[in-house]
């Protein structure tokens, strides 16, 4: 198989003080730092050879929705690579209008946990390939889980959280991933609350556990500090795509540089 592994820059988009869409990047759990204009960044990564682009609307407000759809359209106009849009998608109508605005795929997180049949409805109407189910996983070392893996010598399970990790759901990530796939999800987008912002690398046990339990492609997210972390998540966890934000936004690494590093180490890349 010659399918290449994907390198995906991700932008978190909020409204600035003037009500315009702007990209913000979290730095070590702390402040969100303004890091650019969404359309400019789409253009930059499109030209730099990114394999895909992820746009997450973090406004979570009704009034922001209209601005965000306009911004999605402006971004889509610059994006001749696949564009995934997430944030606040709760209904079939939300899916439809996001796709119509120019997204190729929608990423659904808490909306699907609250109403799992949204996955079936979305897949039936628009095809599985544009339904991405996103999870914000958190490690738990208690007895409440369903599927356990060994982490640092301890038995660990992964819980789906909502509201940026502030609220647990009791739902086991691996169980949920399996259910989401059965319902028609075409891809899984796995974030780690534990790894987010650390730059210490992706949560390998988490990513591996999800990859082993589903047959859909898996995007690993959270914790990337550099190309060596991407190599680890591709080789050790078998992820299909690696997502990163700050290392690209703050120009610590270029897309091309990362891809060459990986290709030199035998990871199939589109150069």
């Amino acid at each position: 198989m010659t399918l290449t592994k994907r390198i995906i820059p991700c932008i978190d988009v909020d409204l600035d003080e003037e009500g315009d869409a702007a990209v913000y990047t979290g730095v070590n759990f702390e402040d969100l730092r303004y890091s650019g204009d969404p359309v400019e960044m789409a253009r930059k990564y499109n030209e730099a050879g990114a394999d895909e682009f992820v746009f997450l609307d973090i406004t979570a407000s009704a009034e922001g929705r209209e601005t965000m759809l306009d911004t999605v359209s402006a971004v889509a106009d610059e994006c001749f690579i696949p564009l995934t849009v997430g944030g606040g998608i709760r209904t079939r109508e939300d899916i439809k209008e996001t796709l119509r605005a120019g997204a190729d795929k929608v990423s659904i997180n808490s909306g699907a946990i609250a109403e799992p049949s949204l996955i079936d409805a979305g897949a039936d109407a628009f095809g599985s390939q544009c339904i991405v189910i996103s999870v914000d996983a958190r490690r738990r070392f208690d007895e409440a889980g369903e599927q356990y893996v060994e982490v640092d010598g301890e038995s660990c399970w992964f819980e789906c959280t909502v509201k940026g990790g502030r609220e647990g759901t009791g739902l086991d990530v691996v169980e949920w991933a399996t259910e989401a796939e059965e319902r028609g999800a075409g891809e899984l987008f796995v974030n780690s609350i534990d790894a987010d912002g650390t730059k210490d690398g992706y949560d390998i046990p988490l990513t591996r556990a999800v990859c082993e339990s589903v047959s859909t492609p898996v995007i690993a997210s959270s914790g990337c500090g550099g190309p060596e972390d991407m190599e680890e998540v591709f080789v050790d966890a078998d992820a299909d795509a690696a997502l990163a934000a700050s290392i690209f936004h703050f120009d610590e690494y270029g897309i091309d540089e990362v891809k060459r590093y990986l290709a030199d180490r035998g990871v199939p890349m589109r150069l």
């Binding site: 290449t4 994907r6 394999d51 001749f80 696949p82 796709l99 119509r100 095809g127 492609p217 299909d240």
Partner: protein, 222 residues
């Protein structure tokens, strides 16, 4: 109509292309890609508009049954357009709709849903011994000459699909790619005016824009 539009556009427009709006999916990227490739694009759900166009594009995101149901009102106009020897380009689901039928509809218990039958054959699902959908960048191997694939042999294109085309006639395959097995990435009729890509050229970076430019130039020459 089309002349008036050409005159108002100050920059050079090579051809008038209609993108069929059958109510599903992302038309925006296909439209922008074609525009960047030099086309003057009309997005329309009016089959009468096909007659004025140099080329027609059937875009594709969605499920086969809904696609065909929604394309129902255009079936005759699309077939007429193709049979008149004029360019028709199906993208992804739009390519699958050029064939006769699809397992996708059968699996959903919807019986045989008729495709356009311009490229006889059927669409089948990948077996489950690999990750499905086939999603990502894969390499194009050009199998035979066709204007659409000029200059793209060995390049990567972006695929997102769970089903793939199996044309009855192997010569319909213009380019292939491999995902567990070899399957068609680009198909075309013998006459060449009906063509389709399983991948999304509008999402395949420079390679995809090259393919769209090839199509627009082909339309301009007709």
């Amino acid at each position: 109509m089309s002349e008036a539009r050409t005159e108002t556009g100050s920059e050079e427009r090579l051809a008038d292309v209609v993108v069929v709006d059958y109510g599903l999916g992302n038309l925006r990227s296909a439209t922008r890609g074609l525009e960047r490739a030099g086309a003057s694009v009309t997005v329309t759900d009016d089959p009468d508009a096909f007659a004025d166009a140099d080329g027609v594009v059937l875009p594709g995101v969605g499920a086969f049954r809904e696609g065909m149901e929604n394309a129902g009102p255009y079936r005759e106009a699309l077939v007429d357009h193709a049979e008149a020897g004029r360019p028709l380009f199906g993208i992804c689901l739009g390519m699958q709709m050029l064939l006769t039928t699809s397992e996708e509809a059968e699996r959903a218990g919807q019986g045989d849903v008729e495709g356009l039958d311009l490229v006889p054959g059927r669409n089948v699902r990948f077996s489950t011994d690999r990750k499905v959908p086939h999603m990502g960048w894969n390499e194009l191997d050009v199998e035979r000459d066709h204007p659409l694939v000029d200059g793209v042999d060995g390049e990567h294109a972006y695929f997102v699909h769970s089903y793939y085309a199996v044309p009855d006639d192997g010569d319909a395959v213009v380019a292939s790619t491999e995902y567990g097995e070899r399957f068609p990435a680009v198909v075309a009729t013998e006459a060449g005016n009906v063509m389709g890509t399983q991948f999304h050229p509008e999402k395949s970076g420079e390679t995809g824009l090259r393919i769209l430019r090839n199509f627009v130039e082909y339309c301009a020459e007709r």
